[in-house]
């Protein structure tokens, strides 16, 4: 944005805030320096663009249509423009400072920074050294995140290409997004899948390409009683109700010994008992210890390890 344009827009904001009654485009043209006095069409185009830009940064430019006037009038209502009075106690400022640092990278970090600046401008003391020995970071590096955040915010249907876990093919999904959830550092979008006619959860990292909005904002209604968090299932919720016995070489498999129960054995080997739910998950951990660990029982876990080893050998 050129300096001249910034100047014009700032003058326009002041003019529209200061006026008590709505001003016509023509009145604004005379009151605000920088508009083309000679060319009507050029002025109209410029004024339209300026209004759009003000609205994009959140300035409520109000259009007033008076039945007795030919031309619409414009103004900014102070009440709609101004940040309401807000004061924060010291402990409140400290947690706000901490919250503002949570977001990493791009859009939300900028939004949080912008909010903090406005609050400071309003005289709110915010604590930059907040948190002290605590630091929280949430990453939103998934390329699909900004578009989905906007879709959730604007209640808008989206379409994207998605590869389900382990699948060879990419399918296009049309989704009414109900919310986004971060669990264990991974982002998920939860919503109604139109093709399947049912609620579904999608991991953002498995979306390929761009997320395209479909239709109008406001088209999505989140059904009552939807709990977006509980819809994102978690492996941790599986009860580890089975036990496996694993022969482990002495002096190795430290982690296994830590999570399991170790019985010292003879000949340089011990036996560790570990609880598990999913034999594939167990095999994935045991196999990393190579020849230092051998699943004795149960057979399905043992077979899962053998399968992986053969796969790695092939």
């Amino acid at each position: 944005m050129s300096r001249r344009k910034t100047e014009r827009l700032l003058n326009l904001v002041i003019c529209l805030l200061a006026t008590r009654r709505p001003l016509s485009a023509e009145q604004i043209r005379h009151a605000v320096p920088g508009y083309d006095a000679g060319n009507d069409e050029a002025f109209q185009r410029m004024f339209e663009r300026d209004k759009t830009e003000l609205r994009e940064i959140g300035i409520p430019v109000e259009v007033h249509r008076d039945p007795w006037e030919d031309e619409p009038g414009y103004r900014i209502m102070r009440q709609a423009y101004e940040l309401p009075d807000i004061t924060l106690e010291a402990d409140e400022a400290a947690v706000l400072g901490l919250a503002a640092q949570v977001w990493q990278r791009a859009n939300l970090a900028e939004a949080a920074g912008g909010a903090l600046l406005k609050l400071r401008a309003a005289g709110v003391q915010t604590d930059e050294s907040a948190g002290g020995p605590l630091e929280l970071r949430v990453d939103t590096r998934d390329p699909a995140f900004p578009a989905l955040w906007e879709a959730v915010r604007d209640r808008r249907v989206v379409r994207f290409d998605y590869r389900a876990a382990g699948s060879e093919s990419v399918l296009t999904r049309t989704v009414e997004p109900w919310g986004v959830v971060s669990r264990r550092g991974r982002w998920y979008v939860v919503g109604h899948d139109r093709e399947r006619g049912a609620a579904r959860v999608f991991r953002l990292s498995r979306i390929s390409g761009t997320v395209t909005p479909v239709g109008r904002p406001g088209a999505v209604t989140v059904p009552d009683g939807v709990d977006i968090r509980s819809m994102v299932g978690s492996r941790d919720s599986l009860v580890r109700e089975r036990a496996a016995t694993v022969r482990v070489r002495q002096g190795t498999c430290q982690w296994l010994r830590q999570v399991g129960r170790t019985e010292p054995g003879a000949g340089g080997w011990d036996v560790v008992t570990v609880d598990f739910a999913d034999p594939e998950w167990l095999a994935g951990s045991i196999v990393t210890f190579g020849a230092d660990a051998e699943v004795l029982d149960p057979p399905d876990a043992r077979d899962a390890v053998i399968r992986r080893l053969k796969g790695a050998l092939a």
């Binding site: 830009e53 940040l83 949570v102 929280l136 915010r153 190579g290 390890v305």
Partner: protein, 318 residues
């Protein structure tokens, strides 16, 4: 800050200067993320603006003599613009996430800020922020002890598991920060074994104990720069190239890859840096037939050797 952000910045700068008469140029520049020259340029621009008519009496009056900024005649824009939906939501979602941490169990500061912010932001932001949730893992066992050491400024003794080497090593650590990133908890501290600042994952700590020794990290100990995330391979680490089937694609989601190439039918080729060759071997074993090391050849050979040795154990025993 790009020039497109200039108008919003000016609309915050003017109210800031109104509510902080006599603010100093360097301090204001830092707060707004500007150089002093950029700030002066902003002040000069503001000085050209004002009420219609634009006679000297209509214009905003700004001075910065001796670095002390005074502003007058800017009553129309004396209050900042209200918070946008994104701005308020970004803070509200983060505040709600904090509210779930044990640190904030006592005290109601969070609840009060959330209420104030919701009031200042309006309905839109409150609705959006309830549709975005960030969860943290349940606190690992070591958390209580680590917190106690941080609060009391004490040294910690712990055993730390390094999976890449399947090693548990005893450490003494002067804790400096608790870092919760991407759903996991880490302790940052001066490690006397490594003689440097290190991050330790809390769920890989064992036998954690607070010592009767005050934490006293060396004067030159700098906090780690976490701007690019907590997992930072060094550029000197060896590159490994893997080919993944659809079942192995999760590797590209879990680990930062230098390069990711689609090979068709859901297969991927990824290049990643590993601090430890053992780590790559373990990853390849875990993948089984869902992925294989393509390069370097000596790593691929190690994977085959390890798999063959392990398989031999099953075959003789079976």
């Amino acid at each position: 800050m790009s020039s497109a952000d200039r108008l919003p910045r000016l609309l915050a700068l003017v109210p800031y200067l109104m509510s902080h008469p006599g603010a100093q140029v360097p301090e204001v520049a830092r707060l707004f993320g500007l150089t002093e020259k950029q700030l002066i340029d902003d002040l000069q621009l503001v000085w050209m603006c004002g009420l219609p008519g634009h006679t000297p009496g209509d214009l905003i009056d700004v001075s910065w003599d001796g670095g002390e900024i005074l502003i007058d005649n800017a009553d129309t824009i004396a209050r900042p613009l209200r918070l946008g939906v994104d701005e308020a939501s970004a803070l509200l979602v983060a505040l709600r996430m904090l509210a779930e941490l044990p640190e904030f169990e006592d005290g109601d500061a969070l609840a009060r800020v959330i209420a104030k912010l919701e009031r200042a932001a309006g309905e839109g932001a409150a609705a959006v922020s309830s549709q975005v949730a960030v969860e943290h893992d349940p606190a690992p066992d070591a958390m209580a002890t680590v917190r106690e050491a941080l609060r009391g400024g004490r040294r910690l003794s712990l055993s730390y598991y390094v999976p890449g080497r399947d090693e548990v090593t005893p450490r003494q650590v002067d804790p400096t920060r608790l870092v919760m990133a991407d759903g996991r908890s880490y302790l940052e501290g001066w490690c006397y074994r490594a003689e440097g600042m290190r991050l330790f994952r809390l769920d890989r700590m064992m036998d954690v104990e607070v010592l009767e020794v005050p934490a006293d990290p060396p004067a030159g100990a700098e906090p780690l720069d976490l701007a690019d995330g907590v997992f930072r391979p060094s550029p000197t680490d060896e590159l490994a190239e893997l080919e993944l089937t659809p079942a192995g694609r999760w590797v590209a989601e879990y680990y930062p890859c230098e390069e990711v190439t689609e090979l068709g039918e859901g297969r991927l080729r990824v290049t990643l840096r590993a601090r430890d060759q053992g780590w790559v071997v373990r990853l390849a074993l875990r993948l089984g037939d869902a992925g294989r090391v393509v390069a370097p050849e000596h790593l691929a050979a190690r994977v085959r050797e390890t798999a063959a040795a392990a398989l031999a154990r099953y075959e003789t025993a079976g």
